[in-house]
Amino acid sequence: MLASLGLILLCQLIGEAVVRGLGLPLPGPVLGLLLLLMLLLARDRFAWLSFGPLRNAGVETASKGLLAHLSLLFVPAGVGVVQKLDLLASHGVAIVLVLALSVVVTLLATVLTFRLVSCLLKLGDAR
């Protein structure tokens, strides 16, 4: 468990270091995600990588533990709303309406594009 958490942190650390070092415009944890994914894929290919947290679903169990309470992790930043009460008093209704409309439009655009493209692909395959 400890080694698995260590591996997750190590992936993030390498991700952050590479992003900072090369000035890449992407977040460090996302690079860490790619790194962990490649490690897991490499482990299936090469038996010698299967040790420590990469053995017996070690890192898998630790990751699922972290993801089980994903929403909790947003609470501290969310409470930051108390610092913005004066802004919300003057523009709150407009901000909430703008964000709500935008999220609905985005959800619809994404889900419909996804469905449209996968239906078109299926039609192409059938032909």
Partner: protein
């Protein structure tokens, strides 16, 4: 034993222990309510934990910085949790690879819609320029959005609040909205949730369906990439 109960409060309110404990206990309670209502969208645990803790801070006159000194240990885990998304992605890699084309097209359509719609609507509503800039990256996860806002010289903490509000509204609205569109493909539904409402949408998607959660996690990570490039361009073109 201190003679003045107030001095005990002064001591505790300055230590990280108190606010870390409050964060965990309030969330445990709101999550239990959410579970008891069989994950009803309106019983969103983040939303209710947020206003309850916010009210406690206001009533006790605690500044947000003292609160954050304790809660930062929870906040810190956002990064490792993003890395951990590699595991559900790995376990469902065959399904993800099989839908790569619809995913990439939907990613492009969704990211552009997210940024352009919020900038246009905010300008239409007559919001001040610095608010418009802080709202622009609202569909990506908090850490990334704060970075984008900083690079635009907008207020990162306002960007974080916009991100959380977007995530909560997205998580509340996604299930009824998708049921109304009649889309039953949980890949598409999850992908939309993660793209529009980042980690809070992904948490919601995992509650509804495992596959939806996986696709939501993919969308959230990819959108963080695309939006980092997109927001500066959109802002130059659209904001007066």
């Amino acid at each position: 034993m201190t003679d003045n109960p107030f001095s005990l409060w002064v001591y505790l309110s300055q230590s990280p222990l108190l606010w870390l404990t409050v964060t965990l206990l309030v969330y445990a309670a709101t999550d239990a309510v959410s579970l008891a209502t069989r994950r009803h969208p309106l019983a969103n645990p983040v939303l209710h934990a947020m206003w309850i803790i916010g009210a406690i801070l206001l009533v006790t006159g605690t500044p947000y910085t003292s609160y954050f000194a304790g809660a930062q240990f929870v906040h810190f885990l956002l990064g490792p949790a993003t890395v951990a998304l590699a595991v559900p992605l790995y376990e469902n890699r065959k399904r993800a690879v099989a839908s790569i084309v619809p995913m990439l097209v939907a990613l492009l359509a969704g990211s552009v819609t997210a940024v352009v719609s919020v900038v246009l609507l905010a300008e239409l509503a007559g919001l001040p320029r610095d608010v418009v800039l802080a709202l622009a990256p609202k569909s990506v996860t908090a850490g990334v959005a704060m970075g984008i806002a900083e690079s635009l010289h907008a207020d990162p903490s306002l960007a974080a609040v916009a991100v959380i509000l977007t995530g909560i509204m997205g998580a509340i609205i996604v299930t009824p909205l998708m049921n109304r569109t009649g889309v039953t493909d949980y890949r598409a539904r999850g992908f939309a949730a993660g793209l529009a409402a980042h980690g809070i949408g992904t948490a919601r998607a995992f509650q509804v369906d495992e596959i939806a959660g996986v696709f939501s996690g993919i969308a959230m990570s990819l959108n963080a990439l695309v939006t980092s490039f997109l927001v500066p361009v959109a802002v130059t073109l659209l904001v007066r």
